[in-house]
């Protein structure tokens, strides 16, 4: 056994309190680095997920819906609600020049009690023309939806095979979607045939805000992708100019509010990480300096026995390495323990889409946080390591006698 490689560990074990404090400090550093980057990435992943879920350049809604600003609360924030416009509008919109893809969607909110199992936003799509929901549903459900089949968002307390009742109509859960980190996680999806039946039933039960509508003759919104050669701007302006009582909105603009607050939150977290990193570096620098100088007599003794300057520095560095390794892993694990179970809470608290990246990516962030923490610790301890290697052994040995 080479004692100079066993000594660091023995020293750490020899003073558990000091060791615990240092591990705690490095754990906090690593927790902040890891937790912070994971937060930022999750927010970005969430926004990206939202963008791709929206999946269209333009969304056309009845004018009242756009002005009452319930469009954003329904589409982006997961509030329940619905609005309708005449199907004729759809035809008019469809005849606009420069449209590549177009599909109508139908909204309905289920009631919170009585005839309905759950209070959720129900979104109906037209399987023949849909280009936003189908590609994404396909990942969870390969078949075509039959009448009264529904697909539930990941956060809903319903599972494949369950039967949910909406306005007295029994619907079968055909699939459950993967988590998106957006308001879609609390929504229910179905084809237009089913949703029209549900709307009819809500009318029959006199539970719809709208009284005199014919479910077969209305749509809630129209999603559009511009054709090649046309700019989104052109199509958008064209619709707003020529189709009355509707409002065409750029989906990018809809989520610009979200991306703005996301950028704000990311900035705050980034600044926090930097502040904590610098503070952590300084605190570790002092903590290591204290921990080493407390024991300078022991290092002087090692010199007397014949340890070289490099050996002393090596012992100090190894101690720091072990501490940082233990601390940074603990910090990362702590970060996972906080972020994994509470992502829902964070999502609600920030009111922003929040989606954890893949396990592989998370592992990457753990590794990065561990490496960065160890690096920080090594930089912080190098000052002490250098100083201890240059100690005036004779002077220290004279002390405390």
């Amino acid at each position: 056994m080479k004692i100079s490689s066993a000594l660091p560990l023995r020293n750490l074990r020899g003073n558990p309190v000091r060791t615990a404090i240092l591990i705690f400090l490095t754990a906090i550093l690593s927790l902040m680095i890891f937790g912070g980057t994971l937060m930022i990435t999750s927010l970005k992943t969430g926004l990206h997920s939202l963008e791709s879920r929206l999946g269209a350049d333009i969304m056309v809604v009845p004018y009242e819906a756009a002005t009452k600003s319930n469009l954003e609360t329904i589409v982006l924030q997961g509030a329940t609600g619905y609005f309708y416009m005449d199907e004729a509008k759809y035809q008019k919109i469809a005849s606009t020049e420069g449209i590549g893809q177009i599909s109508a969607q139908f909204f309905l909110a289920s009631a919170s009690s009585g005839c309905c199992s759950l209070s959720v936003q129900i979104i109906g799509f037209d399987p023949d023309t849909d280009f936003t929901i189908t590609p994404w549903i396909k990942k969870s459900y390969g078949q075509t939806l039959q009448k009264y089949d529904i697909i539930v968002g990941n956060d809903l307390n319903a599972f494949v095979g369950d039967t949910l009742i909406f306005y007295g109509v029994e619907c079968r859960v055909a699939a459950k979607l993967d988590k998106t980190g957006t308001s879609f996680d609390t929504a229910v999806f179905t084809n237009q045939e089913t949703i029209k039946a549900l709307i009819q039933s809500s009318l029959d039960k006199n539970m719809n805000e709208f009284k005199n509508i014919n479910p077969d003759k209305v749509v809630s919104c129209v999603l559009i992708n511009a054709a090649e050669g046309y700019t989104v701007e052109d199509v958008l302006n064209d619709i707003n100019l020529h189709v009355k009582k509707v409002k065409a909105v750029r989906t990018k603009d809809m989520i610009s509010g979200i991306s703005d607050s996301l950028a704000g939150v990311s900035d705050i977290i980034s600044i926090l990480i930097i502040v904590v990193w610098i503070a952590g570096m300084l605190i570790l620098l002092l903590a290591f300096a204290m921990s080493i100088s407390q024991r300078k007599k022991e290092f002087a003794v090692l010199r007397v026995i014949g340890a070289s300057q490099n050996q002393l520095a090596g012992i100090v560095m190894q101690e720091a390495l072990l501490l940082c390794l233990a601390g940074s892993l603990m910090g990362a694990v702590l970060g996972l323990l906080i972020l994994l179970p509470f992502q829902q809470v964070i999502e609600e608290f920030l009111n922003l889409p929040f989606l954890l990246p893949s396990a592989v990516q998370i592992a990457g962030y753990v590794l990065a946080a561990v490496i960065l923490t160890i690096l920080t610790g090594c930089i912080a301890v190098s000052v002490s390591a250098f100083r201890i290697s240059r100690i005036d052994t004779a002077l220290i040995l004279r002390g405390d006698t």
Partner: protein, 222 residues
């Protein structure tokens, strides 16, 4: 082995009457051969430890040289000097010198284990036996008395059978019986061929020594 000090002196920066330099050891020549046991006495603050530290390679002198077998040790790079001290010089410093996270036995075996060599526990235990602290081999330094710690340091310095032994007040915490044991140890080491140099306040150390020195305000008197 032959230890030679040539015109060795040490000055410290310190305010005195006319200068800011304080001469702890004045220019001194000194020779110590294998097999001889030299004892240095003197008043507190006279420069004994300073002189001993310069001989051990732990304190760079202000002037002069320390030669071991005609090798100027202060010309060696740190790594070589450290390894040389490890293998050839046993230093017993003044005061307590235990590593607190290691047991008594591990402390004693340090001169070997520091460079990854086999611990030589049997020899270490034999030394502990002679110094009457064998029962403490697995104890931690914090559990030992001052005298026991001192004997531990002595055993550590002797373990490698160094050719040069430099002891700074090795018996300051010991009772008469153990003081005797330690001086017999030092005497025996000299007999076995080591060059031994001890700083002490013990008056009866003289009876073990081949040569007696006195430090008087930085002046070595033979």
């Amino acid at each position: 082995m032959i230890l030679k000090a040539e015109k060795l002196s040490k000055e410290f920066i310190r305010e005195t009457k006319n200068t800011n330099r304080f001469c702890a050891v004045q220019e001194t020549d000194f020779v110590l051969e294998s097999g001889s046991f030299a004892v240095l006495t003197g008043r507190s603050g006279s420069g004994k430890s300073t002189f001993l530290h310069m001989l051990s390679g732990l304190m760079t002198p202000t002037s002069g040289r320390v030669l071991i077998d005609d090798k100027d040790i202060y010309q060696l790079p740190d790594q070589e000097l450290s390894r040389f001290r490890n293998q050839h010089i046993g230093v017993i410093p003044q005061g307590q010198t235990a590593l607190h996270s290691l047991t008594v036995l591990e402390n004693i075996c340090l001169p070997y284990t520091l460079y990854g060599e086999e611990a030589h526990e049997t020899e270490a235990l034999a030394l502990l036996e002679k110094l009457e602290i064998a029962h403490l081999k697995t104890a931690l330094p914090a559990e030992l008395s001052g005298g026991e710690l001192r004997r531990m340091a002595i055993a550590r310095a002797f373990l490698r059978k160094p050719e040069l032994i430099l002891a700074d007040e090795p018996t300051s915490d010991l009772d008469d019986q153990n003081t005797e044991i330690v001086f017999q140890f030092l005497r025996q080491a000299a007999q076995d061929g080591a060059a031994v140099f001890a700083v002490t306040h013990e008056t009866n150390a003289a009876q073990y020594a081949d040569r007696l020195f006195r430090m008087n305000a930085g002046q070595l008197q033979g």
